[in-house]
Amino acid sequence: MTELSNPIPSKPPRSQWLDVWDQFKSHRGALMGGILFLLIVATVYLGPFFWDIDATHIDIRARNQGPSWAHPFGTDQLGRDMLARMMAGGSTSVSVGLTAMMLALFLGSFIGVVAGFFKRLDGPLMRLTDLFLALPLLPLLLVMMLLFREPLNAAFGPEQGIFILIVCAIGITSWMPTARIVRGDVLAIKEREFVLAARSIGTADNKLITRHILPNVLSPIMVSATLGIATAIITESSLSFLGLGFPPDFPTWGRLLFDATDYLQQHPERVFWPGIAISLTVLSVNYLGDGLRDALDPRIRGR
């Protein structure tokens, strides 16, 4: 009965997002994942300022070296410094991975929610999904490159142009599973009582989706996000082999891993670095996602 006796709140109302942040902070996995992720991002973007060997500089006399003080990660078959290449490759892979994943996630969740929620759009949107699932990936990418490479190069310059193209290519070809999964969940959730309750008090559709449906399909979206990053990083490397990606002297984690596979027996450390980097990035995003999901779940919050 304290509320009644004290009609003026003593504290300003806590916003929902502060609660979320509190919960997130106290989630050990999320915190560690977040720190790890920031560490990786900082290393790949800020590292080159402290480690000033150029990733494409060839020092042919120093080729195939193991780890040493001059080259902590060793050198590759042309004598390029692996640490510099890991950092340069990381900045490409992380940015491609994150942006492409976000694009795929946005497309997938949007189409999934809309298809699941609005019965009229379900058929056309899901047939569209079927179509995209059925299209052969390689010819599709080849056509995209053929049509858009030159205009994008002209508009944004070669590097930006290729970046946009690759992100779009990966995003557009990987949103379908997310859309199917989200739609499946939405179909079930929109029949639940709380949606009915919200609807009965006259909640508009867009509010219904953002406040009631979306938070409840967050966990499959989070899983898609973590898996999506790994897929995007690997797909980017397979684009390079086809000659559709970045120029060949441009290192990325996926490409470093692929190039090193041939030397697996001679120089195992060369596959180790990119392999571990990709895994750690994916793991950190996974824990971040776990924490975020728990923080956004009001039933767990405060437990």
Binding site: G29, G123, M126, R127, T129, D130, L131, L133, A134, L135, P136, L138, P139, L140, L142, V143, L146, M176, P177, R180, I181, G184, D185, L187, A188, E191, R192, N216, S219, P220, M222, V223, T226, L227, A230, I233, I234, S237, G254, L257, F258, T261, L264, Q265, V271, G275, I278, S279, T281, V282, L283, N286, Y287, R293, D297, R299, I300
Partner: protein
């Protein structure tokens, strides 16, 4: 539900025709040349002649029409002839691959066994491992089992098969000499020993593939279980005095299956589609290798036929998934 299924099945015919048209146009537009793998020593005039002999001189609409006729009219006749000994298809031209100059469907059927053996087994193994892991991880969230499962599945998913495949070959074939590194598609299983050999040559590709699929499935299973474990109905069920096993394995599991069913339904066409990289690494030479080889050689009739078969499977299994949603959660209504 039955009317829904029938309506969807009827609707899928125009959908599939449209998909086949889009695939055809895409392949037309894509740069490439069936003569790309012919050595440079063969002069361009000869290559031009060879292209004409493949029928490339004809305009695109005619080629599309021919493919439709061959695929939907002649191929079924060939199948009937094969099973009943009739001669409907005598003299008709079937869908012919440009690489091998032989009927595409014959090669597809030839490739089926190894693809189903390897990719199919990998899927079954993965489902049997992933579901229990996902359920238990969610039930004991943040226990050491869950943490370990998370770690292994994330690393497993991050390591692409072009690397993990080579790694297991180096360990198990080169160093230990336990398993063959090259899959023998001519191997016939007719005795215990030959079955053991079949297992030996399958085990590495199955391991590599199953790791990826398990990682993916168990994550979705876990996430979905977590969503449901805190729902009110679970509390109600427990309060009713139902045993923990029944609560988790019947009530929660059933409600958590929707995303998992979706993922599995998306994966089954992939079984028939093969696993391109894994098949290449282990020389399984199944459907996946057939498709990538055909794309590289710009063997358009082959690519068109294969992708269309996948399209049929995708549409079919997505329909099955939709029907399963209705069974799993009777509140879901489509009509």
């Amino acid at each position: 539900m039955l009317t829904f299924t029938i309506r969807r099945l009827v609707l899928s015919i125009p959908t599939l025709l449209f998909i086949s048209l889009v695939i055809f146009l895409l392949l037309e537009l894509a740069p490439g040349d069936p003569m790309a793998q012919v050595p440079l020593t063969v002069p361009p005039e000869v290559k031009e002649k060879m292209r004409e002999a493949l029928g490339l001189g004809q305009p695109a609409p005619i080629r599309f029409w021919k493919w439709l006729v061959q695929f939907f009219w002649i191929e079924p006749q060939v199948m009937i002839d094969h099973y009943f000994g009739t001669t409907f298809s005598q003299g008709d031209l079937r869908v012919i691959s440009w690489q091998t100059r032989s009927p595409v469907m014959d090669i597809v059927i030839q490739r089926m066994p190894q693809t189903l053996w390897v990719v199919g087994t990998a899927y079954v193994v993965a489902i049997f491992i992933a579901l229990p892991i996902g359920i238990y991880s969610a039930y004991r969230q943040y226990s050491w089992f869950d943490q370990l499962g998370t770690f292994i599945s994330m690393v497993g998913f991050s390591v692409p098969p072009f690397f993990s495949g080579v790694l297991v070959i180096v360990i198990f074939s080169v160093q230990l000499g336990w398993f063959p590194s090259i899959y023998d598609t001519t191997h016939v299983v007719n005795s215990w020993d030959s079955f053991v050999y079949q297992l030996q040559q399958m085990i590495m590709p199955v391991m590599v593939l199953a790791l990826q699929i398990t990682a993916q499935l168990s994550r979705f299973m876990r996430a979905s279980m977590l969503d449901n474990l805190n729902q009110d109905y679970v509390r109600t069920a427990r309060a009713k005095g139902l045993s923990e096993y029944v609560v988790v394995m019947v009530h929660v599991l059933r409600n958590s299956m929707i995303p998992v069913v979706t993922v599995i339904a998306l994966g089954i066409p992939a079984i028939f589609g093969g696993a391109i990289i894994t098949e290449q690494v282990f020389k399984v030479n199944g459907i996946g290798q057939l498709l990538i080889g055909a794309i590289q050689a710009n063997d358009l009739p082959m690519v068109q036929t294969l992708t269309f078969i996948f399209a049929v499977l995708i549409v079919l299994f997505n329909l099955i998934a939709d029907v399963l949603y209705g069974i799993l959660d009777p509140r879901i209504r489509y009509d």
